[in-house]
Point group: C2
């Protein structure tokens, strides 16, 4: 593997403005090959763009000695390269059993929490825009798309992981795992084996080790195509979000934590856009939509074909309710709002 | 399997108005399980809806005795049930070698040609709307979606086969193969084994026999979910087609086989919608878009970022050309049209 992919990625980062001069980048650094290459890449990129870089290692409290070794390796590597380093210890097994979550899911939540916390601290301290850089690559993207596809999770699922999503950036989404490994080999960079390949839940590993290779038998560029479909779906999702925002602008009234939407106008839009409109309305009311499921959206949508007085429960004590040909989204105990 | 699926399908056919009273339905009848069940279903449906039904068998000229046996079986079954029957012999091997096509692709083309020809004749003779009924089911749909997904064929690929597409209807798209087989068993209906499972090209069989079962290990409802994604993509496709038509209405000028589109307005739309706009413009010019490939669409799209005078070739002697911030689609030797 040539130096080519470094340059390709510099151009990618530049094209999509993933990192701009002056910004602070917090890299999630496990010590595995992907994040080691990203650390190397960003270190090299600092020669071209003036930004601050810090590597952060989250110690999961699982796999005993190996986890200590990963932490030690990460710290040493950062020190060797003169890159500021922080680490934090989280108790994944405890969090997992307390919340009835699988180890993978629990680890993911705690890892992101720790990264977000450090990001906010760093940003607050300096007042400079701070982003989290994640090392997910095209193969990870393909796995995510397939996983979501088989769950039937619609457009947002098919759009997979985003290149840029809030404070998070994923500069490696455009390259294959094998290109990363090849480049690390050329650079003679040792890295920690990611043992999670064995530990992780069945599904993800099965997709990675059986399903994707089987798909590549059908089409050798299957992973690239899946990744391209994800980009297309992502564009589509942004387009539909804009259409939903335009719709709410025209046909929705927002006041004091309540939103009223005209049903006759809703009915003129296709079902997938209506669901996007509900999603956006709830996000405006609640600030986020983490607890909003597909079934909430379908329930809201069936409301608009039901009679006046019908209602459905939404997360966080909100409801959707029909009155006089208007769909109201509001707190359960709040007053309705006239359109 | 209960009589349930017959009723479910009656409702499905009714809901989507696939067959209306008075219409003529030409069923593609291979003698295999799927089309035998569809023949049975439509025969039963005639008790509720008054429409004409004819079964047509296309003899492929391959697999010697077995093909004769399939034809005989089909004819006998139609006779037994009192359903008008026609058959036609096509020479798939000859067509295949003359056109450098695989047997499957050649068979598909000749089969559809024969069906379309008979459909047109029947319609012309009676002056009554005539449709072709095809027996593809949900498992076929899932295979198509996966095949297209791995080829990276975008929204129209992911939308798979359509429930209704021009004169063609696919009443079985909402049910699983296993439900059809189960129902045939309960009805004690014998059918011809579809030997194409062995003869067909590698890809399709591999998807059917290896990939789909592997996907069902990840999610037991994978086939249903793929089919649902296809429906969603289909809705999306229709929505985008409408948006493209609206756009051409506002920002395109059509005259004497030429179309002119304002570039500044094109640039305000997302890339996937621009491609839909080009596709629609070419369809308006040429009546169809069979020869229009994705690379034509991408070439047209890069034109709008190029300078005046740049052009690109399109199928059937057409070109796309930029002049004075306008994109012209026209015959290569035609005059340009002012916007």
């Amino acid at each position: 593997m040539q130096k080519g992919i470094d340059t390709e990625l510099f151009l990618y980062i530049k094209k999509y403005k993933l990192i701009l001069p002056g910004e602070q980048i917090l890299l999630a650094f496990s010590g595995g090959g992907d994040s080691l290459y990203l650390l190397y890449l960003l270190k090299e990129l600092q020669k071209h763009i003036a930004f601050s870089l810090e590597a952060m290692h989250v110690h999961h409290g699982i796999r005993g000695e190996k986890a200590e070794r990963d932490l030690q390796f990460s710290e040493n590597k950062a020190k060797e390269w003169g890159i500021p380093f922080t680490s934090v210890r989280v108790d994944v097994p405890a969090f997992s059993s307390e919340n009835g979550l699988g180890l993978e899911e629990a680890g993911r939540i705690l890892r992101y929490e720790a990264l977000e916390k450090r990001r906010a601290e760093w940003e607050a301290k300096t007042g400079v825009l701070t982003k989290i850089a994640l090392a997910q690559h095209m193969d990870d993207q393909a796995e995510t798309v397939i996983h979501n596809l088989l769950r039937g999770s619609g457009i947002s699922g098919l759009s997979g992981m985003k290149r840029e999503e809030g404070h998070r950036i994923r500069p490696l989404l455009s390259i294959r795992k094998q290109d990363i490994i090849g480049r690390l080999h050329v650079l003679s960079l040792q890295y920690m084996e990611d043992e999670s390949n064995e530990d992780l839940q069945f599904t993800r590993n099965y997709i990675r080790n059986s399903l994707i290779p089987a798909m590549e038998k059908v089409n050798t560029r299957a992973v690239q195509h899946l990744s391209k479909e994800a980009e297309l779906m992502n564009e589509l999702e942004l387009y539909l979000e804009k259409k939903a925002a335009d719709f709410l602008q025209c046909f929705g009234t927002e006041e004091e934590g309540k939103i009223a939407i005209s049903i006759s106008n809703l009915k003129e839009e296709p079902a997938f856009l209506r669901r996007e409109i509900y999603r956006m309305a709830v996000r405006r009311l609640q600030g986020e939509i983490r607890d909003l499921s597909g079934s909430h959206l379908y329930a809201l949508d069936s409301l608009i074909f039901a009679g006046s007085g019908k209602r459905t429960e939404l997360p966080k004590g909100y409801i959707g309710e029909i009155r006089n040909k208007v769909l109201y989204l509001r707190k359960r105990d709040g007053k309705v709002l006239d359109l």
